[in-house]
Structure formats: structure tokens, C-alpha cells
Homo-oligomer: 522 residues x 2
């Protein structure tokens, strides 16, 4: 993954003439932004680790698995939010972890944590590096230094129980690597967030990730049956059964713990046979309220789509759900909805028919397969587009939340107002991409002229949006997690006493406070 932008340089997306036209017409964006430094030009603060520190870390994992070289530190300097990328464009000295450590076993992870606790070194578990909430910032939290813990050597399919439909996957496997190992045996996990190509199994668990197939296969936390976690206080092996009444579910403390309570090394997950059949159908609704009510009907009746999502009027008008056609002539009127169905043939046919019945009854018009296939084709490409927009002088950022169905209209209005208030003249787009019987997510995309001091202006917009979310009954994050960026809202999210619980658990497991300081827990 590029250090200063998303993903694979070979997949970078040129802006189409349509998009350039849209930027000029809607946002007044005309000139490119000043380019940032290249990897050769960028200056990092020197590593704060002493030779003795590095020797101790080498003693834990082997010399070849510790590096304080700038070339290794730079790609772990942080995540991929727009503020992250704006900071990377600075020609002043930038911060980065003081070293990268690559353990190869749970024993080595434990040894690294012991060295770091003794030497007062903070540890940031890196995952795939795709955080958009500051979860990977190299904060030292008052300690002497910080290392990036890269688990890429935890890359095995450790077990596949085909009777139970359970697989144990190493935490360092990326989405594609995990799916490839499972597909060789005829199985699939089915977790496809936009970060799929880079993010890891451990990261999905540590951030409560949710993928585009969540209607069919569930959120990542719902797929988790068991977890192994190495903490400074010892190892946990949680989750004995598909369901249990043996006290509190401690797995739920580590799902979403974002590296602050321990290092997840392996995850036991529900998997399913590779689907025999896949069916696509797109829909149009006259407006967002009608479309939202239709998705609610489908989900509350349990008709069983694998994917179901709805774009608002603005997203639909600019073809945002069909990456290749963004900014071109509107392909669909009203609000576009996409449905996809996977499974055995008879099941897919029955579920698609029940879903069609519900969507037709709710005022939908079928558009056939085309727009649904177009959505799937471009489903992982949006972050590349954001990078090109930034280079072209447009700030493009996203944020998301979830709430009960009854709260969604007020929530959407309040967030839209907060964003356009803080960024006058910006374009605010919204879609529903994850549905539950009692509510849904809302995902916002904001595009504005980059202008002067975009970091400060975006910061103000983000604060206004976060306040609006909490005020109108939403959660500060449905699937991006907390990191450093959402931490200011955690006290309101879970209350003072909730924060005290998290601190008490952390004090028990991480008494030296080395694990990802400055993230999640206020």
C-alpha cells in the first residue's frame, strides 16, 4: 500500500472529464493542489529507540524482524483518512513509529509486549494500515517511544471445520489472502468492506468492521466465534460454543478494542460454502424516504438479500454507486437501490422473489441487473478516486453512523446541516449500506473545494457532524471504529461509568499502558 495514498499505484484512477466538469461546476474547483513530497523527499523525525531497545526487541523476535529504517517506518506512519493524507503532504518533519516489529508467534508477541512494558515503549498493532479514524497514529502517550507491531507473519488458515462451518484464521491475513485460502477448500468468509484488499482479519475484529455483504453474512463481529488475544498480563482464548450463558461474553470486550487491550492473533469465524448462484437486481425509488422504508420492510420481514443498499437522490444523480460512471449523465432517476443474492439456487430464487415482492409493494421499480453489477464492479475503487480528487484540489471525506429506523430522518438532516454549515458550498451525499431489523447505517460523503487550511476546516466539520450524530441518537461509528478521531465522543457514547469500565479492564491487562495509547479510551 502506498504511504501517502490508497492502495496499489497501478490502480490509481484518473479523473474523468465528467468528474472534472462536475468539480468545476458544483464546487468551483479548477486548479490542482500543490503536490506533497515524494517518498525520497519526505523527512521523518529520527527514531527514539536506543541501540539497547532495538537489541531487546531483536531478542524477542529475531534481528531480521525489527527495523528502524525510514523505508519501513514510513508506510506505518498512520492510516488513510483525508486528514492523514493531508498531513503526509507536509514538507516539515513527519512523525512515524520508531521501529517496526514483526513477531512470528504468540510467544514472540508476548516477548515484545514484555520488552515494551519494561522499556516504556508504546505498541501500535498495525493490521492492514487502512484506519480512517487515526487508529494507527504513532502516539507515545508519555512513554519513551512507539513501535508498530505488524502481524503479517500470522498468515495461516489454522483450521477448517467443514461440519460446523468454522475456520480459524491468522490475524495477519488480508481479506484476499483469507478468501483465497478458504476458496481452495470451497469455502468463503464473505466479509467485503471497502478496505477488503488491504485490511486484516485481526484488524476486522479489533475494529468491528462491517462488510458490504452484511445483510447476508453479518457484521464481522457477528461472524466471530472465538478469539485468541495476547495481552501483557497473559493470553486469552475466548469463545467455546456457538452460544453460551456462561456469564458475560468477554469476546465482546476485545472486538472493537482497537489494540488497546491486547493483540488479537487468531480468530475463529463462521464461514459458508462458496455460493452456487449469484443474482443481481437494481431498483429505483422516487425518494430516499420511500427507499428507506422499502429496505426496512425487507429487513424486518427477513426476506434475505445478501447485499442491500440505497443511495440518496444526490448520490444517484452523480452515479456515485457506479464508480466508472461518476459524474456522467444520470443513469437512474430518483434513488438507486442495489440487491444481490447468494447461495443455493432454490434459496436464492425464493429469497429474491420475497424481496422483489416487498420492494414492489413499497414503491420500487426494478431496473434489472445492470446497475447492480456496475456497483459490484467498482465496489473497492472509491478510495482511489478520493486520492485523485485531492490531487485535483477537492477535499473528499466520509463519515458514518447508525441509529434506529425512526431516528434516521432527523439524524440525516442534522448531519447534513452540520456538514454544509461548516463547509459552505460542499456537496453532501448519503447512502444506507447496512440494515438491521431495528435500524440502519447512514454513510455520508462530503466533497468540497480544498481551499485554505483544509485540515482545520475539515476538523470543524467533523466536530459539528459528530455532535449532531450523538445529539440525534446515532452512534459515533457504525464500522470505522474510534481511534483517535472519535475518542472525544466516547464519554457521551458509553457514559462516564462506561469509560471507567474500559479503564479498569485496561489497567488489569495493560498496567504499563503500552497498548495503543491515545486511542479509543478517553
Amino acid at each position: 500500500m502506498k504511504w501517502d495514498a490508497w492502495g496499489d499505484p497501478a490502480l490509481a484512477k484518473e479523473l474523468s472529464a465528467d468528474i472534472k466538469g462536475l468539480l468545476a461546476a458544483a464546487l468551483g474547483v479548477t486548479g490542482d493542489a500543490a503536490p506533497g513530497p515524494s517518498a525520497d523527499e519526505v523527512v521523518l523525525h529520527p527514531s527514539r529507540l536506543s541501540a539497547e531497545d532495538l537489541d531487546a526487541l531483536a531478542g524477542a523476535v529475531g534481528k531480521e524482524h525489527v527495523s528502524a529504517a525510514d523505508a519501513d517506518r514510513l508506510p506505518r506512519a498512520g492510516g488513510k483518512s483525508t486528514p492523514d493524507l493531508l498531513r503526509r503532504r507536509s514538507r516539515e518533519a513527519q512523525d512515524a513509529p520508531d521501529a517496526v516489529v514483526l513477531p512470528g508467534s504468540e510467544q514472540e508477541v508476548a516477548a515484545v509486549l514484555a520488552v515494551c512494558a519494561e522499556r516504556r515503549i508504546a505498541v501500535v498493532p498495525f493490521g492492514g494500515g487502512t484506519s480512517v479514524v487515526g487508529g494507527l497514529d504513532p502516539e507515545r502517550g508519555g512513554l519513551a517511544a512507539v513501535v508498530s507491531l505488524d502481524l503479517r507473519r500470522f498468515d495461516q488458515l489454522l483450521d477448517l471445520d467443514e461440519t460446523s462451518g468454522e475456520a480459524v484464521l491468522g490475524a495477519g491475513l488480508t481479506g484476499p489472502a483469507a478468501e483465497e485460502l478458504l476458496a481452495e477448500r470451497g469455502w468463503e468468509l464473505g466479509h467485503y468492506p471497502q478496505s477488503f484488499r488491504y485490511a486484516t482479519i485481526g484488524g476486522f475484529a479489533a475494529t468491528r468492521s462491517s462488510g458490504q455483504d452484511s445483510a447476508g453474512y453479518g457484521r464481522f463481529d457477528e461472524m466471530v466465534r472465538g478469539l485468541r488475544v495476547v495481552t501483557p498480563a497473559g493470553v486469552l482464548d475466548l469463545g467455546r460454543a456457538p452460544a453460551s450463558a456462561a456469564g458475560p461474553d468477554l469476546r465482546q470486550l476485545f472486538l472493537g478494542s482497537e489494540g488497546t487491550l491486547g493483540v488479537i492473533t487468531a480468530v475463529r469465524l463462521r464461514v459458508h460454502p462458496l455460493p452456487a448462484v449469484k443474482a443481481y437486481e437494481a431498483w429505483s425509488f422516487p425518494d430516499f424516504a420511500t427507499g428507506t422504508a422499502a429496505l426496512r420492510a425487507v429487513e424486518q420481514q427477513g426476506t434475505g438479500p445478501t447485499v442491500i443498499r440505497l443511495s440518496d437522490e444526490a448520490e444517484t444523480m452523480i452515479n456515485l454507486a457506479m464508480t466508472e460512471q461518476i459524474g456522467g449523465a444520470p443513469a437512474v432517476s430518483g434513488c438507486l437501490a442495489v440487491t444481490v443474492f447468494e447461495g443455493a439456487a432454490a434459496q436464492v430464487a425464493a429469497r429474491q422473489q420475497l424481496t422483489r415482492d416487498a420492494l414492489l409493494a413499497a414503491g420500487g421499480t426494478s431496473l434489472g441487473e445492470g446497475p447492480a453489477r456496475a456497483w459490484e464492479h467498482g465496489r473497492f475503487s472509491a478510495p482511489y478516486l478520493r486520492d485523485s480528487l485531492l490531487a485535483a484540489g477537492a477535499l473528499c471525506e466520509t463519515l458514518e453512523t447508525a441509529a434506529s429506523w425512526s431516528r434516521l430522518p432527523a439524524l440525516r438532516a442534522a448531519v447534513t446541516e452540520a456538514l454544509t454549515g461548516a463547509l459552505p458550498g460542499s456537496l453532501v451525499l448519503c447512502h444506507v449500506s447496512h440494515v438491521y431489523p431495528t435500524g440502519a447505517s447512514l454513510y455520508f460523503t462530503v466533497v468540497a473545494a480544498l481551499g485554505e487550511d483544509p485540515l482545520t476546516r475539515w476538523g470543524a466539520a467533523k466536530r459539528a457532524a459528530g455532535d449532531a450524530i450523538l445529539r440525534t441518537g446515532g452512534t459515533i461509528s457504525h464500522h470505522h471504529a474510534v481511534g483517535a478521531d472519535h475518542r472525544p465522543w466516547m464519554t457521551e457514547e458509553i457514559g462516564d461509568l462506561g469509560v471507567r469500565i474500559l479503564r479498569a479492564v485496561k489497567a488489569e491487562l495493560d498496567p504499563a499502558g503500552i497498548l495503543n495509547p491515545g486511542k479509543l479510551i478517553p
Copy 2:
């Protein structure tokens, strides 16, 4: 509820001639057991609360809501396991809470907890009194006294959001009271454990209860969207959205906390419209392995029954799933399975057809509606039968677990062997009543001659069964919870470090250690 047996005296079940014949033939049970004391005869240890203690409690909740009278203490003396009932048959002085306290608001609950922390009085939240794992034992845990906290005054439907399908229910509502309030508005919770008629919303949450409709409506913990909990350290209001990535899910610490971490006062729950249609179909399978594989196919394909359960050969032979016919001529050969479908007409038809297809393909034979309706008719009656068996000289007790599908055969064999080894000549029956994509529950019923010292003999059988469960990959409880009886296995269930986490959370919320001592946390 009777103090020395299950439920309503008017519903007590006489043993049929068939059952008496079965007891004599299979177990050699012929003579009735010696009767225990009546409520007038039973002797309780005197209350240990001083007049000052009682005045302080009265100051918290009002004089009329505190009682140290034996008539109030006796019904809260404990739960309804067979060991509980055997202990109630003693003519020696019995233990009971030193008083019963009935707060009427969260402020009053907080005031009671403050009084108890100051005066070193333990607090046992009572729920509906249906624990079968010693969860209500009046243990003082080294403190001066113990009170039973009865939340029956928390009996309101506090909110119903018909758009989102969410209801907020007071923790003291019993199953029937909750369903009645919802049904008046056209809604249903759909949580029907065997304890349904007496157990409470707060108790369902605190024990991770699972009802007979779990295939359709989920376990109770899966229905929970939000919780209000009063702790000695303050009040928690958890659960903002249908799903969230805002850190660990703290609701999951209080679900299953069994009164050890706080007092649940209100629960926000997913509810659904009263079903328009209900369809029944019973099935026969040649053997338990074939039947289990059939249930697995149904659940892994997601064909959507509301109820699905399977009795083993022995349960089927004695008609255990059809309470009115127990012990009579076998009504079904092989293994009986029951399916029920609820919902809108088109949905029910589609789901029943897909389920039929899967069960037929897996070797099932349809028996039509009859046995499925007979199961539903008697679904809450089994505990009455146990009381009558006890009076007739037969020990009848149940235990349950869950595991991954692949582990079920070895788990079932090991538990059966443990029970019959400890109780030679006993009858061990088994069924699957809760299914998940990756595994299922196993529920065991043991019937044996009461004999000499049944408490000690059952204790040995229970220890052997619990050890077998943990050894073969099961959880110590799928839905009965932990209480005092399963506490010895908790360290093995969640590990030393898991226990340390629970203790750290408890120390933060309940520093005086007043909340349900001796339960759940080793």
C-alpha cells in the same frame, strides 16, 4: 410461585398410570418420598438484620416495601433446581434472605445499594425466582446479612417504537405480563423459555436466557438493543444503535452478569408484529445422528423455521416432547423433530417449503401437524411433572450445554456416560432445542430412583457431567446460566485471565462486594 415446587399449585400434574408404570419398570421406583414440611411447618433461621438496618432500608424504599417476615422471606429462599427442592424438604432450620426489599424506581435501587454497601449487606436480585443453578442462594459472602431485591414494581411497557420494532420493558415484568402489554398494541417479543410464566425481563437479560422460538427470534441476548443498569458506582445506559463500532460492546458484560455487577432496571428489545400465520409440522428421523444433520442443514442454509427441535430415540420412545402422553405407547418411531413457522402468510409458506425440502433431503419423514401441536400444548408443563416425580420417589433433573456441530456426538456420549456412571440405572434423555449455523445446544434430562442421599449422588453426577462438557469442547451452560452451581467451571470456561477481567470490572462497579456474592465469578 410455590416456595417448595414449581409454579401454580392449581396446575400441579398427577402422574399418569403410564408414567408410574415406567418408573417402576425402568427405575424400580415404587414408594413415594417422605413429604417435606409445609409452609407452616418450615423453620427459617431468624433474620440477621437489625432494626437500624431495616429502618435504613425503609428510608430507601418506604416502610411498606421492606419485609423481614418469614412469609415474605420463604418464597425468596432460592431457586427451583432439584437440589433446591430437596433442601426445602428438610425439617431442620433453613436459610433465607434476611429481608425482601421492593424498590419502585432507579433512585430507590441506588439508595438500597448505598445502604447495603454502607451496612455490609449482600443483595440478591430476585427476578422471577426460577434459577436452576443456585443463582438466588441467599449467600452473605462474609457480609453481615443478605436481602432479596424484588423488582416487581418495574412493570411498565416504557416505550414502543413501532417503526424500529423496539420496545423498552421494565425489568420486573414477567414473560406473560410483557407479552400482554405488547399484544395490546399488536406486537410480540417471542421469548418463550420453559420459565416463561414466572421469569422476568431483567432475569432473562441477566442470565442470557434462550427461548423455544430462538431459531426464529433469537436468544434473549440477541434481542437486546439497550440496557439500563444501576450499580453501586452509578447508572449505565448502554446501547445507542442497532450496531456500532464504537469500541467494546459493554452491554455484553451485563448480559449474563447474574446480578453480580449491577441491577438491570429496563431493557430495550427488538419486537415484531404478532404473527399473522402459524404453521406446524412434525418429522421423524431414523436416528439422532441423521436428525441432527438435518437440523444442521436447515440452519446452515437459513431456511427460517421459528422453532426447530429434535428428541433422541429415548425421549421419542417415552413421548417426552408431548407432555400429556409421556410414558404411554410410543407415538413416533425413531427421533421426533418439531418445526413451527410464524410470520406473514407468504413468508411462512416459503420458509416451510424450503425447510421441508431440506428435511426431506436429509432423510426425514413428515408426520403432519399433530405431534408439533402436542409439543406446543405442553411446552411449559415439564417442571410440574418433575415435582410430581420427586414426590413419587424419582429424582428428575436437567442440564444443558452447546458446542460446534462437529463436537456434538462426542459431547453427547461423554455426558451420557458421566451421568449413567454416577447414577447407575438412571435414564438419560437428550434433545437439541437451539440451533446456530456453527453448532447447537444439547439438553439432557436424567431420571433416577431418589434413593439414599440424593443430594450427594446428584452432586457427583453433576460434577462428572460438567467435567465431561468442558473436556469435550462444550460450554458449561447454554441458557441456564452459572449461579453457584456452575461457578466451579468458570475458570476453565474463560481462563484465569478471563476471571481476572470479571473481578476487575466488579471491583470498579461494586467495590464493597455486595452484589450477589458467591455467584458466577470464582
